[in-house]
């Protein structure tokens, strides 16, 4: 048995125009042996869901710096569910206040990573998600 290569979509929903953080994560995940599909700035929830479906990804990673995570995350979740990707987990990076963690997890976000998170931690988290969610 060969080990499966994890496929991760890294997307930036919403209108903020900074993708440095997203690119750093993309590179770190590549260096951890994952295939990262990077789609660029200003993705609508529908675009994210479409890419996740076509690319058959294991995880969707969202990078949100605008503060609009409480509105964007549910919309992406709905868009994913609408194309029957209910089983594809969302992870979230960016500037997320501590008090939003619980409500976001209630919305089905599998993991939240603030600016200080080590890339090793993110990598291990994704690998765990992928192996427990093996399809």
């Amino acid at each position: 048995m060969t080990t499966r290569v994890a496929r991760v979509l890294i997307a930036k929903p919403g209108l903020d125009g900074h993708d440095r953080g997203a690119k750093v994560i993309a590179r770190a995940l590549r260096d951890a042996g994952m295939e990262v599909i990077y789609t660029g700035l200003r993705q609508t929830p529908e675009m994210i869901a479409e890419a996740a479906l076509q690319e058959d990804v294991d995880v969707v990673g969202l990078s949100i710096l605008s503060g609009a995570h409480m509105t964007l995350v549910p919309r992406v979740r709905e868009a994913l569910n609408a194309v029957e990707l209910n089983d594809v987990p969302i992870i979230l990076g960016g500037i997320i206040p501590e008090e939003d963690y619980e409500p976001l997890k209630a919305l089905g976000v599998a993991g939240i990573f603030g600016p200080g998170t080590s890339t090793e931690h993110i990598r291990d988290f994704i690998n765990n998600l992928v192996s427990s969610n093996a399809r």
Binding site: R27, R30, Y38, E50, A51, L53, Q54
Partner: protein
């Protein structure tokens, strides 16, 4: 089970298609590929290769819009290299294809080269066949033109575009080094930049230099021969200038692709018997090798490697010893 996805793929289910493509990439879709094969042969497969940043993805984006305006459906396979250090990859071609999002007549799949068993060409060919069976009219394969793998992927395509941009002096050298041989259409993209005419002229000159001798399709590879026994007039690659980001020159590019398609249909067609022969041999070679490998004991192999390492045995003699049937090894050269 990958095979269970077959009816859904044939019915146009995009999620099933995406799933099956993953199985194909992992080399776990033999039954599905077998079931889908009779449904292939409709799509026209176009390879798009060329230097990094020359505008391949932008061109794929523009060309796809052109085909969509004609009512044709388009699937895109965008190949990027796997990092040899980590085995991971960043697949970023979708960034330049955002115009295509939300269109149900388009399907985009990114793919890393991986260290795929049986080679990238084989995996790509299998992916293309699945997409073909799913009913797409055009399949565009984007690869970065640098190494041997791109040449292999180009062999999967029926029409291959090689994309250059002005001001990439060194890459003209790369073109000389062999990529010109795989081009059916040469695209000078970024024609809005200075030096575009010069690049186009340089390419034309190179084409003329390269073409007194004809190319023939031989065992699935283009080979240059002095005098070709060509049943159909030889195809001379066209040079087309485009500005992908402004969708300029795209109709001309589509016309050049169509001309090549007509040429190829007059000749061997997409399912070229020569290419099929090459594929059959390639697959047989791989299967035979795997089968034979199973019959060898690891000890035998290790002993031979040791002796090669000690300079006692040269590699070719080692191979002969491996291939000699056990009886021949016992009786030396004696024949009954």
């Amino acid at each position: 089970m990958p095979a269970d996805l077959v009816p859904q793929v044939l019915a146009g289910n995009r999620r099933a298609l995406a799933r099956l493509l993953s199985h194909v990439e992992r080399g776990e879709a033999e039954a599905a590929l077998k079931a889908l094969y009779p449904h292939t042969g409709r799509a026209w497969v176009i390879g798009v290769t060329g230097s990094p940043g020359s505008g391949k993805s932008s061109l794929v984006n523009a060309l796809t819009q052109h085909y969509r305006a004609n009512g044709e459906t388009v699937a895109i396979v965008a190949v990027d290299p796997t990092s040899p250090f980590s085995g991971g990859a960043i697949l970023g071609d979708r960034i330049r294809m955002r115009d295509l999002s939300g269109d149900a007549g388009v399907f985009i799949r990114s793919m890393a080269t991986r260290g795929s068993l049986g080679g990238l060409a084989r995996t790509t060919r299998d992916m293309v066949r699945v997409i073909d069976a799913a009913g797409f009219d055009r399949i565009l394969i984007e690869t970065v033109g640098a190494g041997q793998s791109e040449v292999e992927v180009a062999r999967v395509a029926y029409t291959t575009l090689v994309v250059e941009a002005p001001g990439m002096g060194d890459d003209i050298q790369a073109i000389k080094a062999g990529i010109l041989e795989i081009a059916d259409v040469l695209v000078v993209n970024k024609a809005d930049r200075i030096g575009a005419n010069q690049t186009a002229r340089a390419l034309k000159t190179m084409l003329e230099l390269g073409h007194p001798a004809a190319r023939v399709y031989h065992h699935g590879q283009y080979m240059t021969v002095e005098a070709a026994p060509a049943p159909v007039a030889e195809w001379i690659p066209e040079v087309v200038m485009t500005v992908a980001t402004e969708r300029k020159g795209i109709a001309e590019l589509a016309a050049a692709i169509e001309a090549h398609r007509q040429h190829r249909l007059r000749d061997a067609g997409p399912f070229d018997p020569q290419a099929l022969r090459a594929e059959l041999f390639e697959r047989a070679r791989e299967a035979l090798f795997q089968q034979w490998l199973q019959t060898l004991s690891p000890d035998t192999i290790e002993t031979l490697i040791q002796r090669m390492h000690q300079r006692e045995l040269d590699p070719q003699t080692a191979v002969q010893q491996l291939l000699a049937p056990p009886s021949a090894q016992e009786h030396g050269h004696a024949r009954p």
